[in-house]
């Protein structure tokens, strides 16, 4: 439980961080809140020779509205997400989900950027970002680029982020007014990752589903966007039979691993139960 030795860097700007990354190559690793990285270092599963702490870069923090989007700096903590009035009124599911991450101690230091960049399918924010159709802003040696959350996750700890790139911000389109939402997470205890979780954002019109997005946490080697399930639900009144079909479609795309939270079959079924419950709650919150 003692990490290997490493050099510590604390750049003042994104540019400087990008420069350090370029110089250090594979020996350099970005450090945000450290609440995913440091535990893996203590287990010596990660042994970076250099840590580049993003904590000194003021530009990476903060939550602001930009047209119909909200832009969250990568180093904004999970606690900040919960405390933000802007998010509470515009994207309440972000607050609801943040509050289900770990415990207050972790949330005071764990960041949104670290959570989504980590590439761990057990993290809650990646599926949520897919559900909300967020865009990640990345800075590298060759400049800035934007990557859609829905195309970002490739597999266990594998993302579209290239070595040398810093994730700087997360841009989230504000869901339509009157939308319904829910993040349903099954976990064994406070501080535990999801056995399975489902994020739902939908709008209703005339009692029928007008738009809908569904994403699942920790039931595959990456977060899953349940597109087939969404298709089934659009236009429906979320009647039991349709929900059942949609849930079956969502379950079909899962491929969870067995772990102490339960065998694969159980976790698939729990994705379905969480989705059923998230749909019901989202529907009850939706206006229209």
């Amino acid at each position: 439980m003692i990490p290997g030795s490493f050099n510590y860097h604390r750049p003042k700007s994104v540019q400087e961080a990008v420069g350090l990354l370029a110089k250090l190559g594979d020996d350099g690793r970005l450090l945000a809140g450290g609440h995913s990285l440091i535990p893996t270092m203590k287990l010596r599963l990660a042994t970076p020779a250099n840590l580049i702490d993003l904590g000194g870069i003021a530009d990476l923090k903060g939550i602001r509205a930009d047209g119909n989007d909200i832009v969250v700096g990568a180093m904004t903590t999970q606690h900040d997400l919960i405390a933000s009035d802007l998010l509470a009124s515009k994207i309440p599911i972000l607050r609801e989900t943040s509050a289900q991450i770990a415990d207050p101690q972790v949330r005071y230091v764990g960041t949104l950027g670290g959570n989504v960049a980590n590439g761990d399918p057990a993290n809650d924010m990646p599926a949520l970002m897919m559900c909300l159709n967020a865009t990640f802003h990345a800075s590298g040696k060759s400049g800035e680029r934007k990557i859609a959350a829905r195309g970002f996750y490739q597999g266990l700890y594998a993302t579209a982020l290239q070595s040398g790139e810093v994730l700087t911000a997360i841009r989230i389109p504000v869901p339509a007014a009157g939308h319904g939402y829910a993040y349903e997470k099954l976990k064994r205890k406070i501080g535990d990752f999801a056995t399975a979780a489902a994020a739902v954002v939908l709008t209703m019109k005339g009692g029928k589903v007008n738009s809908c997005a569904i994403a699942l946490t920790n039931v595959a080697d990456k977060p899953l966007l349940a597109e087939e399930a969404t298709k089934i639900l659009i236009g429906s009144a979320l009647d039991a039979a349709t929900v059942k079909r949609a849930v079956a479609a969502a379950e079909a795309i899962t491929s969870p691993a067995e772990d102490p939270r339960g065998p694969a079959q159980y976790r698939t079924k729990m994705a379905g139960v969480m989705l059923t419950r998230a749909l019901a709650r989202a529907k009850s919150l939706a206006k229209g």
Binding site: M1, I2, L186, K189, I190, G191, R261, P263, Y266, M270
Partner: protein, 806 residues
């Protein structure tokens, strides 16, 4: 006397003696971060030790190359079994009569077994180097299933025991067999079953769990080459035993070993035994001539030092058709892991498991336990219970429910009918234990009334109907149990550890000004001994509890004792404390008689003083008598006021309790909400009701963890998959239910103050109560027994098997 003179009751209240909710004196330092734990001990030139551990569950160690590790800057030495052989310490004896590898000697028998010990000038360098020890392994077939250990072709776990047909407890049946141990009367039990109307039989497993103290096992060994003396600081629950065992193993004379347990952050049985970390630190300090510290990580703690349980009990009960118990039979396979390092009284390889007849009047009973070796970590300690009592209580309380179900009786009514009755005490069980005192029906009745038991059953009936109609997906379960513990090991005729009788001790010195110090052979790990022992003295001697210092844990100053575990501190050292007080009081009485110029018999005790019978204004307070003891003792009497008592208890004590739990099970996820948990405990005389309540809250929280989610799990390749808190379920305050506590008081007739001990009751009674509640939720669907732990997926799986998801 004028009106201002305090009454006896007022004076008694001021002492904060027995019965007072005195605030814990140790909390002043604990809550301010001012405790002194092993980790706080930093000696000059101290080095740090770290293990290289086996990645495999079973392998032949072909070669160990320490060159790269030794080359890491800061590394002073690397120990392997070969080095330890030069001092004859590659293996060490265990408390259970087996031997255990200190460092891998040709083989590794469980994952994370200690292979090499690196000593360096920092923890970091030691950790870096431990990673660089190169070990060549040849993997061997693994067995982690105790039920397969004695199969004809099972992998051989202990090559070193090849051909040994005798073990420490008699004949071995198989090369993986450790011991057979039985109790009761088999013929009588068989006869009872032959004439019974109704019998049940169920395989009841109590999975491997871990005591999981907040502070892991640690030590600092400091060998003084000039004096030839060893000082060993450690997280020891039994410092004197460590000193004696240390002397026997190391051949250092016992008077040259100083063992010190400073503040200990929880033990729960995990810190009773002797571990390779201690031996390696001692050898390392002898080799290097400077102090060496060893600190166990959480993963090391969960996966290597002293697990608990892993008992697999084939249980049978026999009854008449109207629900009167006739007999009990139980055959158990006990998994002790790779070495039998179980911390038990030496003559009792399965501990006090024969308390398995519980609170019930069962005329005939028999139990047989076979211990076996597997490729799992060694241990089998009494985790917050007297040796193997938790397993027994769990088994009988589950079986009682299963029998009630078969009889069609309410489980509480079935228990009530079979509880040992008040007038039967002292009661001798079919296994030969003499239960000291009890009033079981009163306890269970009080519990049932407190929760409105009949109303709960009515509600459950309605909920079941609603469930059948599809109106709810929740099942309501009610767990009811009545447990009896056997604690306070123990009488020398029953109990010893390596030949040392399991007495315990107290030495009290009263200073001239009427304050004093009490030193004991026990060792608090958070139980609040500094508070409660002083309360016993306050009541016995009439001196304020605040004026008494309680000290434990230093073998140079404390009288010899066997330590704290098995709820033995109050029953044994608490008794010694009272007895030492009585010796002091007897002397004080003689001094008082001399000073008041009356005969001894003309005096009577009144709270804090001796007064002349019929003339209460003539008295001497204990404080005055303390002063007198140092300057005006009667002619011929030794000055001073102190006493020591070594107490060999005449019997165990038998605390008991009645618990009731109400749960709601979500059949779609397997999640369980604990709606209510009511715990009535009878621990005899109550010394500090607040500490009792705290102990019960803590033990129930542990019981909740065990019942609802804990298992030290190994996969088929011998990998332990639950070695950190990411995977091993340790509940937080959020999950833990609210507790309702209650009590009755039935003093122990043989204990000087009537106290029985309480620390372990809630763990012993809590686990079956939770488990019975969960099982009860499904019972109406024909389910008899669902194995623990009742975590989400297992409960869901039970529902799935019953077709509840169709």
């Amino acid at each position: 006397m004028n009106d201002m003179t305090p009454t006896s009751a007022e004076r008694a209240a001021k002492l904060e003696g027995m019965g007072c909710k005195r605030k814990r004196v140790e909390d002043i330092r604990f809550t301010q971060g001012k405790g002194n734990y092993v980790d706080d001990i930093k000696l000059p030139n101290m080095l740090y030790g770290e293990f290289n551990r086996s990645p495999y569950g079973h392998a032949h160690v072909k070669k160990i190359d320490t060159a790269k590790a030794a080359a890491v800057p800061g590394v002073v030495a690397v120990l392997t079994a070969e080095t330890l052989k030069t001092v004859n310490l590659a293996w060490m004896p265990t408390l259970a009569g087996d031997v255990q590898m200190v460092l891998a000697d040709g083989y590794v028998l469980f994952q994370n077994q200690e292979v090499a010990f690196v000593i360096a000038d920092s923890r970091e360098a030691a950790a870096d180097a431990a990673d660089l020890v190169e070990v060549e392994y040849e993997q061997l077939p693994v067995n982690v299933d105790p039920l397969k250990a004695m199969a004809p072709n099972a992998p051989v776990i202990r090559e070193d025991l090849k051909g040994k047909t005798e073990g420490a407890h008699g004949k071995r049946k198989h090369y993986n067999h450790i011991f057979s141990w039985q109790a009761g009367d088999k013929a009588a039990a068989d006869a009872a079953f032959a004439k019974a109307d109704v019998t049940i039989r169920e395989m009841i497993s109590y999975p491997r769990v871990h005591p999981c103290p907040l502070e892991t096992c640690q030590c600092v060994a400091s060998f003084d080459k000039i004096k030839g003396e060893l000082t060993l600081y450690g997280t020891f629950q039994a410092p004197h035993v460590i000193r004696t065992v240390g002397s026997l193993i190391s051949k250092i004379p016992e008077h040259k070993i100083h063992v010190i347990s400073p503040d200990v952050g929880g033990g729960f049985g995990n810190k009773v035994g002797a571990y390779p970390g201690y031996i390696c630190s001692i050898v390392a300090s002898i080799v290097t001539g400077v102090p060496v510290k060893w600190t166990e990580s959480r993963i090391d703690n969960l996966s290597t030092t002293a697990f608990a349980r892993d008992f697999h009990m084939d249980m049978e009960l026999a009854c008449t058709k109207d629900g009167k118990l006739l007999g009990l039979r139980c055959y158990t396979i006990a998994d002790h892991g790779a070495f039998d390092a179980c911390a038990n009284a030496t003559k009792w390889p399965a501990g006090l498991f024969s308390i398995i007849s519980g609170s019930y009047d069962i005329p005939a009973a028999h139990c047989l336990v076979d211990g076996v070796y597997t490729n799992k970590a060694p241990g089998g300690v009494a985790y917050r219970c007297s040796f193997r009592v938790t397993e027994a209580a769990y088994c009988v309380e589950r079986a009682m429910d299963i029998m009630a179900q078969k009889l069609g009786m309410d489980p509480a009514d079935f228990r009530m009918k079979n509880l040992i009755r008040r007038e039967q005490f002292p009661y001798t069980s079919a296994f030969g234990w003499q239960y000291d005192s009890g009033d079981y029906q009163t306890a269970l009745t009080k519990a049932m009334e407190a929760v409105s038991y009949r109303k709960l059953r009515d509600e459950q009936k309605q909920k079941r109907e609603a469930f059948k109609r599809g109106e709810t997906r929740e099942l309501m379960g009610i767990g009811v149990i009545h447990f009896t513990e056997i604690v306070g090991a123990g009488p020398s005729r029953n109990c010893d550890i390596l030949g040392i009788a399991m007495f315990d001790s107290a030495e009290i010195r009263i200073h001239p000004t009427g304050s004093g110090i009490c030193r004991l052979g026990t060792k608090s790990q958070g139980q609040g001994h500094e508070t409660t022992y002083a309360q016993i003295i306050a009541t016995e001697l009439g001196l304020a509890a605040d004026s008494i210092t309680v000290e434990e844990g230093n073998t140079d100053t404390a009288p010899y004792g066997l330590g704290t575990y098995g709820s033995r501190s109050t029953p044994v050292s608490g008794a010694a404390t009272a007895m030492a007080c009585r010796k002091i009081k007897a002397k004080a009485q003689m001094i008082a008689a001399y000073m008041l110029e009356v005969h001894d018999d003309d005096l009577e005790w009144d709270v804090d003083r001796f007064r002349v019978k019929g003339n209460p204004e003539r008295f001497k307070t204990m404080t005055e008598l303390a002063w007198a003891a140092y300057h005006e003792v009667p002619p011929g009497m030794e000055p001073g006021l102190e006493a020591v008592d070594y107490y060999d208890p005449p019997n165990f004590t038998f605390p008991f309790g009645a618990y009731i739990c109400v749960v709601d099970v979500d059949v779609d996820t397997g999640m369980i909400k604990v709606r209510r948990f009511y715990a009535l405990d009878d621990c005899g005389t109550r010394i500090n009701p607040m500490i009792i309540e705290g102990q019960i809250h803590g033990g129930l929280a542990e019981a909740f963890g065990i019942a609802m989610g804990q298992e030290i799990h190994y996969d088929d390749d011998g990998n332990v998959t639950t070695a950190s808190f990411l995977d091993y379920f340790l509940p937080t305050a959020v999950e833990t239910p609210r507790w309702e506590t209650d009590w009755t008081t039935t003093p122990s007739p043989h204990h000087p103050i009537g106290a029985k001990g309480v620390g372990e009751s809630p763990n012993v009674g809590g686990v079956p109560c939770f488990s019975n509640a969960v099982n009860d939720a499904f019972a109406f669907l024909g389910s008899t027994h669902i194995q623990m732990p009742h975590d989400h997926w297992r409960v869901w799986t039970a529902a799935e098997k019953l077709g509840l998801h169709a």
